[in-house]
Amino acid sequence: MRTLLSRARTWRATTRPARTRRAEKRRAGPRRAAAVVGSPLQLLLLACSFALAGYAGVRLLADDRFGVALWFVGAAVLHDLVLLPLYAVVDRGVVRAFGAAGHRERTMYVRVPAALSALLLLVWFPLISGQVDRRYRMATGLPADGFLARWLLITAVLFAGSALLFVLRLLRVLRLRRATKDRPPVVH
């Protein structure tokens, strides 16, 4: 943690050294105008980007202006203000729970399988939830009812693997501890 803090300090310190700040004050007039506008190269680049995005954007919005805009902006809002806070809060809860039990370092044994399982559910939700069951079966001639079972199986394997790893590591630690304890005092 101390290294992290010092890292943060170094980063900040190196971004605006005192010398630069004094120089900025001296040339405040034209500098202030430049600061309000920003880098001209950056402006030019962004203008190009917006022009291209606008050209494609009017075509994207041509058919269902409201619906597409809703999806476009809604995707960002839903991710940043719902999905991310949700999993961050759940994760913090798990870390706290392990911390309260005095085993904060064991968080990863739950975090990894849970996150991987959630990731699979997120990506393949339409198939796993069965909401495209009928269309999938009709169109492809393939059964559509195995996805939930397979996802559950994968989840079980992930948690079981994590548990196995945890037990193996615990056993190794215990064996090491016993070995040190059993050693005759001469060796110390």
Binding site: R7, L60, A76
Partner: protein, 447 residues
């Protein structure tokens, strides 16, 4: 309404405000993860820089593979304007070309999802950063980030839904994914141009720090002038770490590996396909025997009944320079027969291994209606009454290829109804939907 509760609050006001402030996401102290920082973000950013560039290029190739410039029936985005500037005649070789480019497009896209999510997580404090704008350029950059994040999520969500046949999005997939890609890529280019130099510096610095930890401070000196390098992502009051930065990167990579491992197999037949346990068209094949391989749309789904494909009812109508010829299936079987080993490769990213097709060459059918030496384009119509690709146009180079067939049999057996009985098109390197099934009419001539 007594004043009681307020008394005694004022001395603690300053501290309360500070505590309160760190409860708001606009305060840097709100963000507690010790993982966030320029290093973590830069590694993920560089992976996405390469990955998304490949996604965009393979996407453009897929668009070209439909030959949208050839005929309105192939073109789901007629208003594309200059966005089709690069279009070219899609080649017929190597015969696995579309299978490769589209397999990479979809499998890589699915694989990058954890990287995208981790990248967005790593920079989320910036979404709430105050002041909203330090300058005009900064304000525009933040606006551009809406296009970047919204665009990325829009592209990934429409793609992931489409491969699962979950058509929730507002409109046809083709224009949404195509125009959306250009909006996203416009913002992506600007973002990459503004951030890549700093990201490369950060990663180089991380490597130097790892190789010579004692020289860490010297490395920091080199960072001078790289103000936007992401130092503000470092939490001012981080929680104790529950995982190292390297561990977190392995975690993201593990997520990608899991998705890759459960998706990639659907580009192959046999035991490899069985490894794609959660992906559509993964797992087992729909049937066994010569016609057992993957089906895009079954006959029942396309509304094709036995009455129309019956030996007595079905006639192929071929039109060309010298008029119209009507051929029954038995007459087609008497024409010179050729075979070709070609895959079915779908825009959804799945494909089959090479199947052994047998039938009449398209150029022989062209010769039948007066195009002896110079096979032209062809307009193919299916018996299907609905579906976006019941009509398809093939270009002259596709018609001329000796492997392009009107197939009547596959793997040594008559086509099954689901694979297009009585006759279907197969063209090397073409997207699956241009391999029209249940063909009813073929019109040769320049389109």
């Amino acid at each position: 309404m007594g004043r009681g509760p307020c008394q005694g609050l004022f001395p603690a006001y300053g501290r309360a405000m500070r505590d309160h402030a760190s409860r708001l996401p606009t305060s840097p102290g709100f963000w507690r993860s010790p993982l966030r920082g320029p290093g973590f973000t830069s590694v993920l950013g560089l992976v996405l820089l390469v990955g998304i560039t490949v996604l965009f290029l393979t996407g453009l190739l897929s668009y070209a593979a439909y030959n949208p410039g050839l005929s309105p029936v192939n073109d789901k985005t007629p208003d594309k304007g200059i966005l089709g500037f690069y279009l070219f005649d899609w080649p017929t070789g190597p015969h696995w070309l579309y299978r490769l480019t589209q397999g990479v497009h979809v499998t890589l896209g699915v694989t990058l999802i954890p990287v995208l999510l981790a990248k967005l997580w790593s920079v989320v404090p910036k979404l709430f950063a105050l002041p909203p704008a330090r300058s005009l350029a900064h304000a525009l950059e933040r606006l551009s980030l809406l296009l970047l994040v919204g665009g990325a999520l829009f592209e990934f969500v429409t793609g992931v839904l489409n491969v699962q046949l979950d058509y929730l999005f507002p409109g046809s997939f083709y224009p949404l994914h195509f125009y959306g890609a250009w909006v996203f890529f416009a913002a992506f280019l600007a973002h990459a141009a503004l951030k890549t130099p700093a990201a490369v510096r950060n990663v180089r610095r991380m490597r130097e720090e790892r190789e010579a930890p004692a020289r860490g401070l010297e490395g920091a000196e080199e960072m001078d002038g790289a103000e936007e390098a992401g130092g503000e992502l470092i939490s001012p009051r981080p929680d104790p770490a529950s995982v190292s930065r390297r561990g977190a990167l392995w975690f993201v990579g593990g997520g990608s590996l899991l998705l890759f491992g459960t998706t990639a197999g659907r580009s192959f037949d046999g035991p490899l396909r069985r490894t794609a346990v959660l992906a559509p068209h993964g797992g087992a094949d729909p049937g066994s025997g010569p016609n057992g391989f993957q089906i895009n749309k079954t006959a029942a789904y396309a509304g094709i009944g036995a009455a129309e494909t019956d030996e007595d009812a079905w006639r192929l109508v071929v039109t060309g320079r010298t008029g119209t010829v009507r051929l029954g299936r038995s007459e087609l079987l008497q024409l010179p027969s050729h075979s070709a080993a070609l895959p079915i490769a779908c825009v959804e990213g799945w494909s089959t291994s090479d199947q052994w097709w047998r039938g009449v060459r398209l150029r022989d059918l062209a010769a039948l209606v007066g195009f002896d030496a110079d096979p032209p384009d062809v307009f193919v119509e299916s018996l299907q009454r609905h579906g976006a690709f019941r009509h398809a146009a093939l270009r002259a180079n596709q018609v001329a290829d000796p492997r392009s067939l009107l197939a009547l049999a596959v793997n040594g057996e008559d086509l099954s109804p689901d694979h297009g009985y009585p006759a279907r098109i197969v063209v090397p390197a073409a997207p699956g939907v241009l391999n029209t099934k249940w063909v009813a009419r073929m019109t040769f001539g320049d389109l």
